[in-house]
């Protein structure tokens, strides 16, 4: 039913560039991109031949190339651009009847940047942003039926690359694809003809993602021994010396992850709160990598608020929690209404959120989790519902 609105390309481009700049607010305010200690490993692996070829290698590759070997500012602006391209598609597709969809697009960007963690996530040298992007891009592929080849190509490329950046998003998308297939084809008995476009979209993306995962899993030896994969250290030691090979091992790994996550089923709830950004340690991985590969940025890095210990997100955490809880209440309310516009989209985002919670727990166990980096996606379908103009809001 939906198709991408033909818009004046200049306006769309300016919306994307301005939107991307707004998303970088947290980094600009911090005076330097935000860093975790592991950010240093991503930077280093991007320039050196990695010791271990794993799922985060793709992000390292992204860092090395988008920085142009010049500045980390270019990395965060590029990842911000990727995000705004996808978000912009949503507003152009779903609010196609509205001439002023740019207004709602900017409203959303400002809301999630200043009251939620979107800007913080975008501004961090970490692949965690791509979890949200992959969910968004995949959602587009699922819901948009009429799409030009150019648009399909752009969205599919973004979906494939961002999904391949983390195994957890791949798992989520595989599960959602299966659910979609089962519900539509088997239970609702919809023909392939009716759902052809969506199935082709999903098929392309899934195949690409599987190809990348195959590449990741088959090529290296001791692929899990890298300190980047945030799984339990106990698991690391168990898996370290096992011989790798093929799809059989993928299943074994996943079962291993599942086993590790069971003891802490509720821990991800608390991980919905924005993570603490510690001061980068002198001679730590992050600062060393910047000194080695971005020596022009090192002074800026030392003068950043994070380095000075000033950067805190205390009130942002509270506002994110408030918005998250409000979003969940609205999700429940809207999904109960069978005639609700974009109900399927709501189900999709809800499923993605719940699967993120579950898989986050499974993958990370009691370790540091990045679930908070995804929750800012949730208000998006609500925006589309509110501003599409055909919502029956009985309680207002």
């Amino acid at each position: 039913m939906n198709y991408i609105q033909e818009d004046k390309s200049r306006r769309v481009l300016s919306n994307i560039f301005v939107g991307a700049l707004i998303f970088c607010f947290a980094a600009l305010n911090n005076k330097f991109p935000l860093l975790f200690e592991e950010s240093g490993v991503y930077i280093k692996d991007g320039f050196l031949r990695p010791r271990v070829f794993n799922n985060t290698f793709l992000y390292s590759f992204f860092v090395a190339h988008t920085s142009w070997g010049r500045s980390l500012w270019l990395v965060i602006y590029t990842q911000s651009l990727v995000l705004t391209i996808v978000v912009n598609y949503y507003f152009r597709v779903f609010l196609k009847c509205k001439s002023n969809h740019s207004v709602f697009y900017f409203c959303y960007i400002f809301l999630v940047s200043f009251l939620m963690s979107a800007s913080v996530v975008v501004s961090t040298i970490s692949p965690m942003l791509f979890n949200g992007i992959s969910i968004l891009a995949f959602g587009l592929l699922l819901s948009v039926r009429k799409m030009s080849i150019k648009d399909r190509l752009i969205i599919s490329t973004i979906a494939v690359i961002s999904t391949a950046m983390s195994i957890s998003s791949l798992l989520i998308l595989v599960i959602i694809s299966l659910l979609y297939f089962i519900i539509n084809i088997i239970f609702r008995k919809k023909t392939l003809k009716k759902n052809g476009a969506s199935i082709i979209n999903i098929g392309i993306v899934t195949l690409f993602c599987l190809a990348i995962v195959f590449l990741i899993q088959v090529v290296p030896k001791n692929r899990l021994s890298n300190d980047l994969i945030p799984i339990k250290s106990t698991m690391l030691s168990e898996k370290k010396h096992e011989a790798p090979a093929g799809a059989k091992n993928i299943i074994t790994d996943i079962l291993g992850y599942l086993n590790a996550g069971v003891p802490q089923p509720l821990s991800p709830i608390w991980d919905l709160s924005i993570s603490t950004y510690n001061i980068p340690i002198v001679n730590g991985q992050a600062l060393n990598a910047i000194e080695d590969w971005f020596s022009g940025d090192i002074r800026e890095c030392y003068l950043s608020k994070q380095r000075e210990g000033i950067e805190k997100f205390t009130i942002l955490r509270i506002s994110q929690w408030l918005l998250l809880l409000s979003s969940i209440v609205l999700y429940v309310y809207f999904t109960m209404d069978r005639k609700m516009r974009y109900r399927n989209l709501l189900f999709y985002f809800l499923a993605a959120f719940l699967l993120n919670l579950a898989i986050g727990s499974v993958f990370n166990g009691a370790q540091k989790n990045n679930l908070w980096s995804f929750v800012w996606v949730l208000p998006l379908p609500l925006f589309l519902i509110f501003f599409s103009g055909k919502t029956k809001l009985k309680f207002i």
Binding site: L28, F110, F114, I315
Partner: protein, 467 residues
């Protein structure tokens, strides 16, 4: 009796004076909460010392120090910040006054809008902090607003225009950056007037060549006035102080100096080469900085001028400089936290004790001295107001649905904020106080626009009821 009281009350709140005084009182809220005027370490002390010792410091104009000296009447520093708040309030009143639809617009409504606006910028933004701070920073937004009055005012009386002009001259002279910001703003507006559609737009809202010229003359006059003041206070006939050193500090922060010295020290015999491996990040203020070992602000100026000139004329370094300048401008635009009120250093304590003993006891027991000030909530609210204003600007300017005058005024304010970020970010460094001093101007065009629409609606309603 009751009618008389009502009449007096009505005439009081509808008078111009009420608006100005009420806003000034609101603007003093943070200082009142602190129980003393706020200070900025070392800088506030340097202003006070310079004025009383009659010394022109190499890194700042002496005028703000003189302002403290004379407007405190040697009685209390409170009188200084009260004067600041009255100046800001008067400037704001000029806006709420001359942007009004007609002369018949009621003063009571103007006052109401102005008081609400002042409350917003005082409680949710940094205006009140800036006004209560013994720093020349408050004169940057004042200069921008005053230049705006010169350009936008239509019904300003001769007397008021003269007063505004005097204020322009002195407020620009208060801080090094004000001259460049105002000049940049005028030149930018003049440059855009080259294009015919823009020129027509300017003509439609009353931007005449005469107004541009007047603004330019006032800016140049402020520079000459400051140079004269410096001359009579034992300095040279020079207004701007320490520009090259500030720029050098920023070139260090950009990382250009490391590359430059590594490549050039073999060929050129700079004194700075001796320290090339020990240049601190805080080049200007670090006690171990090579600048201090090379003769301080004055002694090192000559060599740094040569280095800066070489950097800016070599394409390789210039490219990095331009890239860094863009990044620094964006960083400065997004860095506007208010509340830089750390525990006063001994130097400030001594300056207050030596020159304003009456205030000393109160100053030592202020919330700032006891480290009880917390600006987390105000800063968060300021972020939200900033974001909302930016959103409204984006939407309204792009849609073109509002009155041209307000659109141009909004662009004027945005341009001022951008130029401020560029000048401070590129030539001095990214510090929150540079942007926090101007960011509270953002809601002003929105408030003025709302006020006009509110009046229009009220007029239509009145007309219909009469009919």
């Amino acid at each position: 009796m009751k009618a008389t009281i009502q009449k007096i009350f009505r005439s009081t709140i509808s008078s111009e004076l009420f608006g100005v005084i009420a806003s000034a009182a609101i603007l003093l809220i943070i200082a009142a909460y602190n129980q003393s005027p706020l200070i900025f370490n070392a800088d506030s002390a340097m202003y006070i010392e310079a004025a009383y010792r009659k010394v022109v410091e190499p890194d700042r104009p002496v005028l703000y120090g003189l302002f403290i000296k004379y407007f405190s009447f040697r009685i209390s520093l409170w009188l200084v910040i009260i004067s600041q708040s009255l100046i800001v309030s008067f400037v704001l009143y000029c806006y709420f006054g001359f942007f009004a639809l007609s002369k018949s617009s009621r003063a009571i409504e103007k006052n109401l809008f102005m008081v609400i606006f002042t409350a917003l910028i005082s409680l949710c933004m940094g205006a009140s902090f800036q006004v209560g701070w013994l720093m020349a920073d408050i004169f940057t937004p004042v200069s921008i607003l005053l230049i705006g009055i010169v350009l936008f005012a239509e019904r300003l009386s001769q007397g008021r225009l003269v007063f505004v002009s005097i204020l322009v001259v002195f407020s620009i002279a208060m801080h090094n950056s004000n001259f460049y910001i105002c000049l940049g703003l005028i030149l930018l507006l003049a440059f855009t007037a080259i294009f015919k559609p823009v020129r027509k737009l300017y003509e439609s809202i009353g931007f005449t060549f005469r107004k541009f010229f007047l603004a330019l003359v006032l800016i140049i006059m402020s520079n000459l006035t400051l140079s004269t003041i410096h001359y009579f206070h034992g300095g040279e006939f020079k207004s701007s102080r320490g520009g090259v050193i500030f720029l050098m500090g920023n070139v260090v922060e950009m990382g250009i100096i490391d590359t430059y010295l590594n490549e050039q020290c073999g060929r050129k015999n700079y004194d700075l080469c001796k320290y090339k491996d020990s240049i601190p990040n805080n080049f200007l203020w670090d006690s171990k900085s090579p600048m201090r070992k090379m003769g301080g602000w004055k002694g090192s100026e000559k060599e740094y001028t040569v280095i800066i000139k070489d950097i800016l004329t070599t394409p390789k370094y210039l490219k990095t400089f331009v890239f860094s300048s863009v990044i620094l401008t964006l960083k400065q635009l997004a860095t506007f936290e208010t509340g830089e009120a750390a525990k006063p250093w001994r130097r400030v304590n001594l300056a207050v004790r030596n020159y304003h003993y009456n205030d000393y006891r109160m100053f030592m027991h202020s919330k700032q001295s006891e480290q009880k000030l917390n600006f987390t909530v105000i800063n968060f609210l300021q972020n939200l107001v900033f974001a909302s204003c930016l959103l409204i600007y984006l939407v309204t300017i792009c849609s073109g649905k509002i009155d041209v005058r307000y659109q141009v005024f909004a662009i004027y304010i945005l341009a001022a904020i951008l130029i401020n970020a560029w000048i401070c970010g590129t030539f001095s460094g990214v510090f929150p106080r540079y942007q926090s001093r101007v960011v509270w101007l953002m809601p002003l065009p929105i408030f003025l626009c709302i006020m006009e629409y509110w009046w229009k609606k009220a007029l239509v309603k009145n007309y219909q009821s009469i009919k």
